[in-house]
């Protein structure tokens, strides 16, 4: 990467008054036909220009807006001063995967929502700057990359279950303390949702792989094809396998269906199955890759979150002529990242808001349509959002040969079933305190398996906090 020299001597920072710097993206017509990344990221000039908008506030409220309290002011300051490696180090202090989070965090609800500039105009594009620094790090050769220091060997061994963001963050942090770490993953690929869920066009898998390689260089051992709860139980890890503590970060991967008639017709998928076939099994390369995926011509995706957006945009890329996004509430209530909603629209996804599906109809075993009822917004409900209520006699059918259900996931009971002394919530999630400690001594948990489906950054934060708690717990145990 070419370096633009900082003017010397360093002047006092004088914020620019320029508008928020747009991030280049590939044109919708082009990108909706392939799986390459949509966003192109800032150039160095653009990153500097955006960084210079930052007021470098004395009391930087953005830091509180970040779930893991990254020192945003400082890393942006480093960009302004062209001290990129230092900027990366600031990010990595709190966030092991900046290139990932820069791409997938809902910044508009977090750091950028707390940016002072946002009160009157547009906030600093913190996420885009994080992404830029993360990519800067990944573009360096191995020597030049930011490599967190590994602690001196403590002799303790910790097992991490699951290689999603929670597990990865926990593993990295444990190495910093000098504990030996083995990550057990049930699938044949590492990364959790980052690999099997979020599509290539939004998060290139090479980025996830590069971050995992860095962890391997730090000494984290990865073992794939191990289902904890089946191949080994948690107890066996702690006895026969000799691990001193276990971190459970197995996510909330069990797909929820609506329970409406016709849901088992051919052509009806959970978003998990659809995205897994495409991302993990490379179904888009069938028959070069062996796993087929049903390529619908008219696709209805049910849901309004990131998962629904990803499924809809993936269907489009597989060649669907029409893709409908069917959501019970209105667009404002959609939990998806704003950018994804914007991109989905640009790519021609048709939004059917305030529509509630009631049945999948079919012929000869195959889906042919989705029956939906129109809704209107009523009084606010528990979540503070206005609750949708049915409009009488407003039923209509959306013609489609594929229905993708993206209405959420739940905890997978596989692991807890074989770990009887692990306390669960009534909905099957693992009960853990702020530091990840569960009801079972030596067993910690974090990420979606504790909170229910949440975000990458929250899962990473939980993994890291658990690692710190595990370190304290190990210090208190005699060997």
């Amino acid at each position: 990467m070419s370096h633009i020299e900082a003017p010397d001597p360093k002047p006092r920072h004088r914020p620019s008054r320029g508008p928020r710097t747009e991030m280049p993206a590939r044109p919708a017509e082009e990108r909706a036909r392939d799986f390459d990344e949509v966003n192109l990221g800032y150039s160095e000039e653009q990153a500097i220009a955006e960084a210079e908008r930052c007021l470098q506030c004395k009391n930087a409220t953005c830091i509180e807006g970040c779930p893991v309290n990254i020192d945003i002011k400082s890393f942006i300051g480093h960009i302004i001063n062209r001290e990129y490696a230092e900027g990366v180090a600031v990010l990595k202090e709190r966030n092991a995967l900046p290139a990932v989070c820069g791409r997938v965090c809902p910044q508009e609800e977090q750091c950028e929502a707390s940016c002072v500039l946002g009160k009157k105009g547009e906030p600093v594009a913190i996420g885009r700057l994080e992404r830029w620094l993360g990519d800067f790090d990944l573009a360096c050769d191995l020597e030049g990359r930011c490599k967190p220091e590994v602690g001196e060997d403590t002799g303790f061994k910790v097992a991490v279950v699951g290689s999603g963001p929670a597990g990865l963050a926990c593993a990295g942090e444990l190495r910093r303390f000098g504990h030996a770490v083995t990550v057990f993953e049930s699938l044949h690929a590492l990364g959790g949702v980052l690999t099997y869920g979020i599509p290539e066009f939004r998060l290139p898998k090479s980025i996830v792989q590069a971050e995992i390689e860095m962890l391997a260089i730090m000494g984290v051992e990865f073992v794939k094809d191990i289902v904890v709860g089946a191949t080994y139980t948690v107890d066996e890890l702690m006895t026969e396998q000799g691990y001193d503590a276990v971190f459970v970060g197995n996510g909330a991967g069990l797909p929820v269906f609506l329970g409406i008639p016709g849901e088992n017709l051919n052509g009806v998928y959970s978003a998990n199955e659809f995205l897994t076939r495409v991302n993990l099994m490379k179904g888009y390369e069938f028959p070069k890759a062996d796993t087929p995926v049903w390529r619908g011509r008219k696709v209805a995706v049910i849901g309004g979150g990131n998962v629904a957006m990803d499924a809809a945009r993936t269907a489009k890329r597989l060649g669907a002529e029409e893709v409908f996004l069917v959501y019970r509430r209105s667009e404002e209530e959609m939990p998806a990242r704003r950018e994804e909603v914007h991109h989905a629209r640009e790519e021609g996804i048709e939004f059917k808001m305030l529509c509630s599906p009631s049945e999948v109809v079919g012929k000869d075993g195959w889906a042919t349509g989705l029956v939906t009822t129109r809704m209107e917004l009523g009084e606010p409900d528990d979540s503070g959002r206005r609750a949708p209520v049915c409009v009488m006699d407003s039923e209509f059918t959306i013609d489609c040969d594929t229905v993708i259900v993206a209405v959420g996931t739940r905890a997978n009971p596989l692991l807890p079933k074989t770990t009887p002394d692990l306390e669960l919530t009534s909905r099957g999630y693992i009960v853990a305190n702020d530091h990840g400690a569960t009801s079972k001594p030596g067993v910690f948990a974090g990420g979606d398996i504790v909170t229910g489906s949440a975000t990458v950054i929250l899962a990473m934060g939980a993994g890291k906090r658990s690692a710190q708690a595990i370190d304290r717990w190990l210090a208190g145990t005699s060997r």
Partner: protein, 279 residues
């Protein structure tokens, strides 16, 4: 990587293969299955354990060559390796002394029936095995079944080339009618399990079937394997594969198994052309 340590051809298109996988061998139980990938771009497919040895650290499975993945698998030899093997998955077959039990194995289902019959006999049941195949050539594991302590082994072929010229449902019905059965287990093609269940239902003989829906992960993550049991959706990989045969919606299962028929044919045809083998 999981090295192949054993291979045996049981018939024109049925093979038994052994793989070194100590952790899985340690845990395997009758009725459970594994997911495997042959190579890097491979599909994940489920196969049931036919045998295993915790001491020696291997597992075995018997598979019929029906499409691209099983075709590729049939080309592996001792010394080659599989990219991935995961397990043991699914709920083990419920093994207890139920009294007089019929275990029906149809086609390659005989491979799945074998460890089940062995476990049921060991648990003290009086076990009658009914083996069915289209013809003698396709009949597998007859000697292995004979070596178990069974009450009786009844062989049926569609063309009478071995044993009785009958469908498996005929002897099953006779046993039911004679009041000689406390439980039936049917493992084989869906259509066979459907008719076995219909047969035993008439006589109210409780019946377990081992379902084989299409799977992707095999751990409860995708829902591809969903089946309707008494109108309720269950996941074949984690709630099964064993279910109450009298409660299964077999029509739906048969329909769902056909989703990818065209794609599968294409993939296998391309592979056959590339590998230039005669099948």
């Amino acid at each position: 990587m999981f090295p192949v340590v054993y291979k045996r051809q049981l018939s024109e298109s049925v093979f038994e293969m052994g793989v070194e996988a100590p952790a899985i061998a340690h845990k395997a139980k009758a009725g459970q299955f594994l997911m495997l990938r042959v190579d890097e771009n491979g599909e994940r497919i489920p196969l049931t354990f036919s045998d295993w040895s915790a001491e020696e650290g291997w597992i075995r499975f018997i598979f019929m060559r029906v499409g691209k993945t099983t075709h590729k698998l049939s080309h592996l030899e001792v010394g080659d390796s599989l990219a991935d093997v995961v397990g043991p998955l699914g709920v083990p077959t419920h093994v207890e002394d139920l009294g007089r039990v019929a275990v029906v194995g149809g086609g390659v289902g005989a491979a799945v029936a074998y460890p089940v019959a062995r476990a049921m006999a060991a648990a003290g049941n009086e076990v009658t095995v009914i083996l069915g195949a289209r013809n003698e050539e396709l009949l597998i594991l007859e000697d292995e079944f004979k070596a178990l302590s069974l009450k009786e082994l009844i062989v049926c072929t569609d063309d009478g080339s071995a044993g009785r010229k009958d469908l498996v449902t005929a002897p099953l019905k006779e046993l039911c009618a004679a009041g000689a059965l406390d439980h039936a287990m049917a493992i084989g093609p869906v259509i066979m399990m459907k008719f076995c269940s219909a047969t035993t239902k008439e006589y109210s003989v409780p019946t377990t079937v081992s379902l084989n829906p299409i799977m992707v992960d095999g751990t409860g993550m995708c829902g591809a394997c969903r089946v309707s049991i008494d109108g309720e959706t269950k996941f074949g990989c984690v709630d099964g594969p064993d279910f109450d045969g009298h409660a299964v919606d077999f029509e739906e299962l048969m329909s769902r198994q056909r989703v990818y028929v065209d794609d599968e044919r294409l993939a296998d045809a391309e592979y056959s052309r590339e590998c230039r083998c005669h099948t």
